[in-house]
Symmetry: C2
Subunit: 253 residues, 2 copies
DNA sequence: AGTAGATACGAACACCGTTCTACTCCGGTA
DNA sequence: TACCGGAGTAGAACGGTGTTCGTATCTACT
């Protein structure tokens, strides 16, 4: 009874929906107002990541926020890796997936990807955890299922659709991670990190003649916000999909 | 004279080609056969990453391999972060860039991306360092220049070309990182990590009815090697580029 | 010959994830 | 009612990390 953290983790994977014990309150609740639960741990972790970034999320920092010791966490969580999985699990659980509409499948796809990006950027650096997280998690699998359904609704061949979903999610992760580290770089300004676009243009202009294209198209290289680049790439991948309803054409009805 | 590591790093960025001091041999070479140089540090680091993975590359492990103490490294390298930058710098320096051929620009692009992936996978997990590395490094900038030249040779509009190069390199990094962590996962098998394709198929089949598409197309979802998926995505992005010579058509000559 | 400067390195600091062990308190049972 | 097993809570500690400080050593120039 009262499953160990290891058993909880196993239940979160594909081994069927684990029979949830009612979790009767046991043990000491001495000077403690609120007992430590997995949910409380995850919520506090999210608060830390949101305000201080993912790299500030340590077991000790988390324990302090919960007014306890680091070892107390291990009664509810297997690992830090396990905690990471819980985080991206809850994050994916809050993505809402539209019912696939064959006429609007491309924008639906963009919508879900944008949701994912927004969540990742809201909790800076958390996409690093998403890279390590197992795809066997039920919550992340739910998002994959939703994406796959949308692409299939677009009439894309199943094999292409399956791989495209993986490509898209991987790119969303990568983009979010890159933006997150760039943002955290310019916060701690001690590093010689190029900040503004004009500064970047000046550096490109000062480049030796070995970089002709970079010098020539410095303006294009530094143009656009991160959001612009995000939508550009997502569109690049989606438009490449040979769906039944191509190139924004409406179906023959 | 004898630039500090900070100055060396600054020279590696875009502040022109730093005047290289002849680096006359100074200091003690007591019981030491070979002096510690930046080059020796980087080479040893590569050897460690190649054989034990990026996560095994610690300052202490590196110091042991060089038969010295950890603090000795900081005379040549600013940071671990700086060491990472040196690593991906040398890695990019070994990419050979073809002279752009407008007739073969797509395969040239694939070739360079494949080279990058091979290097990243040869040193497992090093793509993590590539994410954090500043794009202002001269060696990485050389690769970007080469890629941009190829895409431009394909007749792609400059703005599209500039962004596409970024998208491509970001995806190559992400793919390599994902493959690396997956490989390192199945080495330390203590985790309940799904290994084989058949095991994955069985898990997908055991999924609840909430995952209809995933169950239906489990075969497609688990099909293909990582290399297959890599080339699929690269082609997806490249074929989406509206170049002058579209869809494998030969130019009108 | 002597000194200045560059190099090397041991010791230590603060922090990390994790484990071991003891302790406290509750619920069910005799 | 008394008790006792077990679940939840912590404190202390272990091995590991990146990094800094102070000091010792050796070379090259004055």
């Amino acid at each position: 009874m009262s499953p160990t953290p290891q058993e909880r983790r196993a239940a979160r994977h594909q081994t069927g929906a684990g029979s949830d014990t009612p979790a009767v309150r046991r043990g000491p609740s001495g000077g403690r107002k609120k007992p430590i639960t997995v949910d409380a741990i995850v919520s506090t972790a999210f608060a830390i990541v949101e305000s201080e970034g993912y790299e500030a999320l340590t077991m000790r920092r988390l324990a302090v926020a919960l007014e306890t010791g680091p070892s107390s966490l291990y009664a509810h969580v297997v690992n830090k890796e396990d905690l990471d999985e819980l985080l991206i699990g809850r994050l994916s659980a809050e993505i809402d997936l539209p019912t696939p509409d064959p006429a609007r499948w491309r924008e639906q796809l963009i919508g879900v990807c944008t949701q994912l990006r927004d969540q990742y950027l809201r909790y800076p650096g958390i996409s690093q955890a998403a890279f390590a997280a197992a795809p066997s998690n039920l919550d992340t699998l739910r998002v994959s299922e939703g994406l796959l359904a949308i692409v299939l609704a677009g009439g894309v061949e199943p094999q292409v659709a399956a791989w495209a979903v993986d490509s898209l999610t991987l790119y969303v992760n990568a983009h979010s991670l890159e933006v997150s580290v760039a943002n955290s770089r310019l916060k701690r300004n001690d590093d010689d990190w190029v900040v503004g676009r004009d500064e970047m243009l000046r550096r490109f202009a000062a480049l030796p003649e070995t970089f002709p294209q970079t010098k020539r198209y410095a303006s294009e290289l530094t143009a656009g916000t991160t959001a612009d680049r995000f939508h550009f790439t997502i569109n690049l991948m989606i438009n490449g999909l040979p769906g039944a309803h191509q190139e924004g054409q409406t179906p023959p009805s």
